[in-house]
């Protein structure tokens, strides 16, 4: 009997460890990114916002160039769209307290310059190669 109890306890412990490992092994699950209850580290949130900006920049650049959208107004529109998405992500979806992460300015400028250059590069390349 004692042996059975011991083995079942050991199994439970092992299961719990596996569950814990799963939680740690899948930090990049979509659910985790959308859950406002999960606490965010300054670096983690900064990296996340950086990559969101880059993806938005690349996609907008490709779409703007493929259509093609011509004129400085589309650059301004991209800037507004990208900033809106980043703001919506941390303020509406994650509901983080921006003061803990250095304020709106610090969060909104995360990856901004890199995404601007990436957007311009994609826009110019697709426009030049696809329409001339």
């Amino acid at each position: 009997m004692k042996v059975d109890e011991k083995s079942s306890k050991a199994k439970k412990k092992k299961q719990q460890q596996q569950d814990d490992q799963k939680d740690h092994a899948n930090p990049f699950m979509l659910q985790r990114f959308m859950d406002p209850d999960i606490p965010w580290d300054k670096d983690q949130l900064g990296d996340m916002l950086h990559w969101i900006r880059q993806v938005v920049g690349l996609l907008c650049g490709l779409v703007w160039g493929a259509i093609p959208l011509v004129g400085g107004i589309w650059f301004v529109l991209f800037l507004a769209l990208s900033t809106g998405i980043v703001y919506g992500y941390y303020a509406v979806i994650l509901k983080v307290d921006e003061e803990e992460f250095g304020g709106h300015g610090a969060l909104l400028q995360e990856g901004l310059f890199a995404s601007l250059t990436l957007f311009l590069l994609a826009w110019i390349l697709v426009y030049s190669l696809g329409h001339f």
Binding site: D47, L69, E100, L121, W123
Partner: protein, 192 residues
């Protein structure tokens, strides 16, 4: 190389692809050099971990509310701030010395591209640039068409976007806690 030539000849502005590939290759070479010269060394790892630790502790101590509020100690904050400044200065010096090799590579590649595409329109801009952007995008080009793009502007865009994201991807980007504390820090307004 043959594929690149074929692609370049297929498109009217195929030279843009050549600039893109060359800057991609340069970014990879520069990061490889940086890895062997800077990031692999134990002193860099030690400095980086001490900056991370100090900035995390400083953030915790400076939090407006929470458990740390009662244990706030200005002396402790000052100590962490000075250690963070010191480590960041050391890291900047370390990178400055070793980054010289990378700078040489970048200058050589830029000179090579300049000789390849001097006076050539490598791409067409989908907007009319103004001021400084116009000066850069029209550098060395003949004619008045503002939408003509020179190699310098395209290379600038490529090198900034590719290098920044490559560094981020490889985990080589400078630590966040080191902001405004490098070789030339801004003066602290409180000290006046």
């Amino acid at each position: 190389m043959a594929t690149l030539r074929l692609l370049s000849s297929t498109f009217r502005y195929g030279d843009a692809l050549t600039v893109l590939w060359i800057s991609l290759l340069t970014a990879v070479v520069c990061e490889t050099i940086s890895y062997f010269v800077i990031y692999r060394s134990s002193s860099y790892k030690h400095l980086r971990s001490s900056i991370d630790k100090a900035s995390k502790k400083l953030d915790f101590l400076k939090k407006p509310s929470g458990a740390s509020a009662t244990s706030k100690n200005p002396k402790k904050i000052d100590r962490f701030e000075s250690s963070l400044k010191e480590s960041t200065r050391d890291l900047s010096m370390f990178k400055f010395k070793s980054g010289f090799v990378v700078a040489v590579v970048l200058v050589v590649v830029f000179a090579f591209l300049n000789s390849m595409f001097e006076g050539k329109v490598v791409a067409k801009l989908p907007f009319h640039p103004l001021g400084l952007i116009y000066k850069m995008s029209h550098r060395g080009l003949q004619g008045d068409d503002a939408t003509d793009c020179s190699m310098a502007f395209l290379y600038f865009l490529c090198s900034i976007s590719i290098r920044t994201n490559l560094q981020k991807l490889l985990g080589f980007s400078p630590p966040r806690g080191s902001g405004n504390m490098g070789l030339f820090p801004m003066p602290d307004p409180k000290s006046n």
